[in-house]
Structures are given as structure tokens and as C-alpha cells.
């Protein structure tokens, strides 16, 4: 085992050669570990842990984990290190998150513990991590192909023995066929099974029971019996050979493992693509105006960098030169390219699509929105669902019971038939591998989290999927969720003789001189509503909180300018108006000209979202801090009949508590800014909106794009996920319970045991894979 450290030039040594000479590496590995204690080095994969300044959370890639039991053992080994507070290991994504104290230990301390436990550890998010993943993939493919090819040929040699009548096959010919089978089984044992033996040996050395121990025992016994049958037919093991069963079993098992590896890389794909999205090197402008290539880690706020089309932005910043289109789909879920120009903000991790731009860096490293998203996704990937924890706890006693019962079964059959005794033990060992049981929950949850991430929904806590599946009431906090931040402006009435287009043109001319949100909304709406008419305003004066007054004239030359006022009723001198209606007025020297109404724009997909939630049998409530009139208007527009208006945050929380005490499980959707206490009080919380402050948002789900329908889709996906988990657990349990008795009485031959075990794992994984197809539109199912 060896350690590769970020930034060390290890490429000179071929990875496979390195692995082949562990002794030679041992001395060098110690030095490499010391290097990583430099804060410059570990800060690349670590971040401060909330609460205490001395606590650091580090994320590392651990290679060599096969199952839940491995992850559990590694966690125990890490927690035993003084100074390590928490360790979360996910076998599913091959990642570990370690919380350690700067005062009590160094990264090399706990990394040695991982190494001692028999795994290879790498700092996450660097190129060495990618290299090790690639090597694992190649190795898995090689092992699988060897097993497959040799299995086919061994079948061919075994076939004559099955079909031959007595006397057809001469003794020499039979011996030749067996000899050939043995030769071709050797590479299967040496290459394909190496992983099982390594893992089993590691488990034995560490006094653990892992999933590979029964498999390795079964393989060794079968091979020993068959070898004895080939070379010493008169021995106590009889003259039977099982090379065909053996190779077929290995092939089935490796097929399952290989598919699992692919599923893992596919579902963790969103996470991986996020981690590898930032470029390693960037072009930074130097003093003399030329550009030099520097490491992305060396960037500081204030630097100017050049980003070419096809590259990703390395930091949050502001475009200072050039125009381009940017793909921000990973960060916002928005799939359309966004046109951006000078002065617009870009976020790290998004892709520059069209043209070269220069960007002034505003935030780097952990301060970027990208880093916050990645941290959230990592935390979600290692947090374990409750059901998976249950499977972990059960695995060890279960496996111990399997080994013991196999030994007992062998002891029972031995006096009458030694050969049969061994084959029964092999069948028991193989058929009961609880791979499917421990895969059932994580596979489904990972697949669902991958789908969500691709749709721009970030899962902060994977447990939330369980809770979300049981939700029966959805409460929307109106502002920022059902309504967008943008205001909608409509023209209500004009003075006789004044066309609507003219009123719009006049108002727009004035509004352009103000930065007030209402003015900006009016100017935006007026740009299209005014038609070809254009007015220009001169000497505009804004009176804060009241309105704008100005001289304005139509676009044509020599037209006389008129004095116009745009603003509140009082400002424009319009009498007899309720000041609270949210209307804006336009007036000239003769008095009232036009009235504009102001409303919060309802999100385009709000209606369909509410309808979809209703169709799925969920109750929908709306809470609002606005007045009753405005709330009713919005509620009617989108079809919510139950709403509460004029509520303070404390009252909203009170309302939520009442719902919960009535037995409802509630999901709250808020913008994550003003409603933190309500979100925290909910069973499941969604922070919604393009401007969610990720670092502060305590929500379970973060819907980063502007699509409300994702909330409904997420709830539906959570329900489907829990259905799949229940199916998986049920299937795995039923399979194991049915097969153990059959194997004990000797009714299942070894090859059938291998087929059954591989199939049960594949059924579980394939079932989970259905969830990674994406978010379906919830229909009236």
C-alpha cells in the first residue's frame, strides 16, 4: 500500500509497478506522509469544521473498499486515532470524511491509520485520485475478461464429460481435458480471484468478518478438491472436478462487481464531475499585461484571468472584457446557456462556451459558491441513511453465522461423504453472501441523489429522502418561492385621449432615471409595451420614496417638452386614492395621466406545481407576511385555497407546530433567507431560489435553479426511492432466507449458488438504477 500526495510528481512511476513493489515504496511513503502535514498541502482537501476553529474536516478518497462491512471497519480504525472526532466512510462512493483537531493530530496521523487498515488513501479532488480510479476500472475489466474467457474454454473441455456414454471417452482423453481445464483455471484463480483473496486476508489480519471471506474460502476449497481430483483420482476427495462451476461462479460474481463499479461511477458521476470541474491551471495577467499560466490555487482576489472557450471558470468573478455564453447547469440546474457580458458575474465551475473573456477574480477557493456546493454534496455522499446503518450492523453477525453453519454442515456430511460435505460447505458459503442486503439501500439512495444533482437539486442530508417520502403536507412561504423577486407592472387606465403606448413611453422615460426596484420593473415592462414610441427625459429628479419628476419630450425633434411626474398618488397630486393599493401614477401639469398596477409576478410553473402536488394527495398551504389582499390575489392565481397572511416568522413557526401536532408531516419551501426558523422546524425543508446563500441555508434540499416544479419532482422521487429500497431489502432478505436451508441440505450445487448470488446483487442494483433515469414529471398516477 502506498500514499500518493497532492502535488508530488509520481507520474514518473507507472502505477501498476508501484503497486507491485510495496516494500520498496515503504520508505518513500513515510516521507510523502510528512509532506502532507504542511497546511498548504492539506488545505487543498480540507475545510474548517463548523463550531471550533481548531477542528478541520478533510475529504479523502479510499481505494479498495468493497462493501459496507469494510467501511465500518475503517471508521472504527479512524475513530481510534487520538485527535479524530468523527469519521464517515462511504463504500458507495469510495470517499471518507474525517473531522480532526489541529491541536491533537496531523493528517499523516489518521492517514497512516487508513493505510494500516489495509487501504490506499488519497486526498480528494486532485489528479492522483483520478489515476487510482482509472486503475481500479482497468483492473476490474481485466479480472472480468480473464474470468469470462477462461470460463468459456473450460466449459468446452467439460462438455464431453457431460454427454459421453460410458466407454466413449478414453482415460487418456479425459485426463487431457482435465489437465487443460486446470491450466485455464489457474489464471482465474491468480488474476480474477486476487481481489477476493486480498480482501479476505485483510479482514482476517484485522480480525474482521467481511463479505469476501466466505467467497474466498469457497473458492479455495473448490479448487483444492478439483486439483486433487485431477492429479490424484484415487484420493479421499474422489475423482470429480468442478472447474466449470468454479470459473462460472467467479465470472458471475465479477460481473456483479463490475456492474456495481460502473453504477457507482455513474451515480457518483455528478459528484465526481463537480469535483473535477475546476481547472488546475489558469492564465493570469501579469504586471506588463501579458498572460502567464499559474496554478489555480495561487489565484488571489483582485487577479485578472483570461478564460478561453471550452474552459471552466476557476473562481467567482466579474467579466471585465468580452462577451460570451456560459453553461451554469451544474450549479443552477439551468440547462440553457446564459449570455453574459462585461460587468456580469460568473461563478466558479461554470463553463465558458463561446468566446475568450477576461475575468477579475472576486472570490477563490472555499469562498466560492462552487466550493460550498461541493462541500454540501460531499457531506450528503458520506452521510449514511438509517436503513443502511441497520444493514451494516446486521452484516457482521450474519457473516459469522454463515461461516459457522458452513463448518457445521461440513462436519455433519463428512463421515458419510467427504466430497459432498465440502461441496455443501462451499454452497452455503457462496449462496449467503449478503452483498444484496448491504447494497439495497445505498444503491437506491445514491442513484436518487445522482438524479437530483443532475437536475440542480442538492441533497444536504441523505436521510432527508426517507423523510421526504412520508411528507403529506407542503407549506410554501410565499415570497421568493411561489412569486419571483421580479415585479409585474400593468397599465390600468389612462386619461381620455392618451394612448396606452404613449403612457408607457412617458413612464418608461422617467423610470429609466431611477434605480428603485419599481422603476426598474416599470422600465423593463415599458420597453416592450411602448411599441415604437420613445420619449426622452431631461433634468430628471428623484425624490426618495416618492417618485421621479422630469421634463420629457417625444423622440422626434422640435416637439415641446412637458413636465411629468411618476410616483405615488400624493406625489402626483392624484386625489381620492387609497395609498395602500400598490398603484403608481403618472401625471403632467394638467393632472392625472395614467395608473399602473404593481403585482408580484407568480412563477410560471407555480400553477402546475401546485396541481401536481395536489394530484399526488398532498395538502398545500401558503404562508405569507404580506397583507391579506396581496396574499389572496396570489393564492387565487395559483389555486391554493388554504393560506395564512400577515404572519411574522414566529407565527409561521407556530402554524407549522400546529400542523405537526395534528399528525401531519410537513415539507416547508422557503427562500432560505427570511424563513430559517420555519425551515428548521419542518420535517423536510427546501431552500428555493437562484440566490440561496448556500453556506447559511440549513435546508435538507436546496433547489438551486428557478424551477418550482423540482420541489414536486423531488418529493415524488423520494417516494419512488423508498419504494425501491423496500423492494430491495425485501428481495435480499427473502433470497437469503430461502437459499440457506436449501444449501444446508445440499440441494444447491456451487455453480447455482454463484448464479443466485450474482443475480440477487444485480436485481438490487438494477432496481436502484431505475431511479437514476431522472426526474419524471409527476402525473396523476
Amino acid at each position: 500500500m502506498h500514499i500518493q500526495v497532492h502535488g508530488l510528481p509520481l507520474e514518473a512511476e507507472r502505477p501498476d509497478r508501484v503497486a507491485a513493489t510495496p516494500v520498496a515504496r515503504a520508505a518513500g511513503a513515510a516521507d510523502a506522509l510528512e509532506l502532507i502535514d504542511d497546511p498548504q498541502e492539506w488545505s487543498a482537501f480540507s475545510r474548517p469544521w463548523s463550531g471550533d476553529a481548531a477542528l478541520i474536516e478533510s475529504s479523502v478518497v479510499v481505494a479498495g473498499m468493497q462493501c459496507a462491512a469494510c467501511a465500518q471497519g475503517l471508521e472504527a480504525a479512524l475513530r481510534a486515532v487520538p485527535g479524530v472526532l468523527r469519521a464517515d466512510v462511504s463504500a458507495g462512493s469510495g470517499r471518507a470524511s474525517v473531522v480532526w483537531s489541529k491541536d491533537a493530530t496531523r493528517p499523516s496521523g489518521w492517514m497512516r491509520a487508513i493505510e494500516r487498515a489495509g487501504y490506499t488513501v488519497l486526498p480528494a479532488n486532485d489528479s492522483a485520485a483520478h489515476a487510482i480510479r482509472q486503475r481500479e476500472g482497468r483492473q476490474a475489466l481485466w479480472r472480468w475478461l480473464v474470468a469470462g474467457l477462461c470460463m468459456m474454454q473450460v466449459m468446452m473441455y467439460a462438455y464431453p464429460a457431460y454427454v459421453a456414454q460410458p466407454g466413449d471417452l478414453s482415460l487418456e482423453m479425459e485426463r487431457l481435458l482435465r489437465w487443460a481445464s486446470w491450466v485455464l483455471t489457474l489464471p482465474v484463480m491468480l488474476f480474477s480471484c486476487a481481489g477476493f483473496f486480498q480482501n479476505a486476508w485483510r479482514d482476517m489480519v484485522n480480525r474482521r468478518v467481511g463479505m469476501d471471506l466466505p467467497v474466498a474460502l469457497g473458492l479455495l476449497i473448490t479448487f483444492a478438491v478439483s486439483t486433487a481430483g485431477t492429479f490424484e483420482p484415487q484420493g479421499i476427495f474422489g475423482r470429480e472436478v468442478f472447474f466449470d462451476s468454479l470459473t462460472m461462479f467467479v465470472f458471475f460474481l465479477l460481473t456483479g462487481r463490475w456492474l456495481e463499479l460502473r453504477l457507482r461511477s455513474r451515480t457518483a458521476g455528478a459528484l465526481e464531475s463537480a469535483l473535477n470541474r475546476l481547472p488546475e491551471a489558469v492564465q493570469r495577467r501579469t504586471q506588463d499585461g501579458s498572460f502567464a499560466l499559474v496554478a489555480a490555487r495561487r489565484l488571489r482576489p483582485g487577479d485578472t484571468i483570461r478564460v478561453l472557450p471550452g474552459q471552466a471558470f476557476a473562481a467567482d468573478g466579474c467579466i471585465v472584457q468580452g462577451e460570451t455564453s456560459v453553461d451554469q447547469s451544474l450549479l443552477t440546474g439551468e440547462s440553457r446557456p446564459l449570455p453574459l457580458g462585461q460587468g456580469d458575474d460568473v461563478i466558479a465551475g461554470s463553463h465558458n462556451l463561446v468566446a475568450s473573456v477576461q475575468v477579475r477574480v472576486l472570490r477563490v477557493g472555499d469562498d466560492t459558491r462552487f466550493a460550498q456546493i461541493v462541500a454540501l454534496m460531499r457531506a450528503a455522499a458520506v452521510a449514511k441513511p438509517r436503513l443502511a446503518l441497520l444493514a451494516d450492523r446486521l452484516a457482521k453477525p450474519f457473516l459469522t453465522a454463515v461461516v459457522v453453519s458452513a463448518v457445521l454442515a461440513a462436519a455433519f456430511w463428512w463421515p458419510s461423504d467427504p466430497q459432498r460435505a465440502l461441496m455443501v460447505a462451499v454452497a452455503v458459503l457462496i449462496v449467503t453472501c449478503p452483498c444484496a442486503l448491504s447494497l439495497a439501500t445505498p444503491a437506491a439512495m445514491l442513484a436518487a441523489a445522482g438524479s437530483l444533482a443532475r437536475a440542480g437539486v442538492l441533497l444536504r442530508n441523505i436521510q432527508a429522502l426517507e423523510a421526504a417520502a412520508r411528507v403529506d403536507t407542503v407549506v410554501f412561504d410565499k415570497t421568493g418561492t411561489l412569486t419571483s423577486e421580479a415585479l409585474r407592472v400593468d397599465l390600468l387606465a389612462t386619461r381620455e385621449g392618451i394612448s396606452g403606448e404613449r403612457a408607457w413611453a412617458m413612464a418608461t422615460a422617467l423610470a429609466q432615471h431611477s434605480l428603485h426596484p419599481v422603476s426598474r420593473a416599470l422600465a423593463l415592462a415599458g420597453a416592450s409595451a411602448a411599441g415604437p414610441q420613445r420619449w426622452t427625459a431631461q433634468r430628471a429628479v428623484e425624490e426618495v420614496g416618492q417618485g421621479v419628476r422630469s421634463w420629457a419630450a417625444p423622440g422626434q425633434a422640435d416637439a415641446p417638452a412637458v413636465a411629468l411626474r411618476l410616483g405615488s398618488a400624493q406625489f402626483c397630486g392624484v386625489a381620492g386614492q387609497d395609498p395602500d393599493t400598490g398603484h403608481i401614477f403618472l401625471s403632467d401639469a394638467h393632472g392625472w395621466l395614467a395608473t399602473f398596477s404593481l403585482a408580484q409576478a407568480v412563477r410560471p410553473d407555480a400553477v402546475s406545481t401546485i396541481a401536481a402536488l395536489r394530484d399526488s394527495g398532498l395538502a398545500v398551504y401558503m404562508l405569507s407576511g404580506d397583507g391579506a389582499g396581496a396574499s389572496r390575489a396570489v393564492a387565487q392565481a395559483i389555486g391554493i385555497d388554504r393560506f395564512e397572511s400577515g404572519r411574522t416568522p414566529a407565527q409561521k413557526l407556530q402554524f407549522l407546530r400546529e400542523l405537526q401536532s395534528a399528525g401531519h408531516r410537513t415539507a416547508v419551501v422557503g427562500d432560505g433567507l427570511n424563513d430559517a426558523p420555519v425551515l428548521a422546524g419542518a420535517d423536510v425543508s427546501f431552500a428555493f431560489g437562484p440566490a440561496v446563500p448556500l453556506a447559511r441555508a440549513q435546508a435538507d434540499f436546496i433547489v438551486a435553479g428557478g424551477q418550482l416544479i423540482r420541489v414536486a419532482q423531488t418529493l415524488m422521487l423520494a417516494r419512488r426511492t423508498m419504494t425501491v429500497v423496500r423492494q430491495n431489502l425485501g428481495w435480499a432478505l427473502a433470497y437469503n432466507l430461502a437459499c440457506i436451508p436449501l444449501a444446508l441440505v445440499g440441494w444447491i450445487p456451487a455453480w447455482m449458488a454463484g448464479l443466485g448470488m450474482a443475480t440477487s446483487s444485480l436485481v438490487v442494483v438494477g432496481n436502484a438504477l431505475r431511479l437514476s433515469r431522472g426526474l419524471a414529471l409527476p402525473g396523476p398516477a
Binding site: 481485466w142 480473464v146 474467457l149 491450466v183
Partner: protein, 45 residues
């Protein structure tokens, strides 16, 4: 049927040759990314 005494050892040798070829291909990364190489044809740069 005496020819089988030659053919069976030959078939074993053949399997080993094929395995050697597979090892060579995998080690050079020919199976690392099955999607990308096909799409490279369409990439002009």
C-alpha cells in the same frame, strides 16, 4: 481422433495468446473511455 492430443494443448495456448492481447489493450487504456473516442471524429479542433 489422435489429432485432439495436439488441438487441445493448442487451444490452451490460443487462450493464453488472447489473454496476452487483452492485457496489452487494457494496459494501454483502450477500454478506459468507450464514448469519447467515438465522438472525437466529430471534434474539429
Amino acid at each position: 481422433m489422435e489429432i485432439l492430443y495436439l488441438l487441445i494443448p493448442l487451444s490452451v495456448m490460443l487462450v493464453f495468446f488472447i489473454l496476452g492481447g487483452l492485457w496489452w489493450a487494457i494496459d494501454r487504456g483502450q477500454f478506459d473511455d468507450l464514448e469519447e473516442q467515438g465522438q472525437r471524429v466529430l471534434d474539429e479542433s
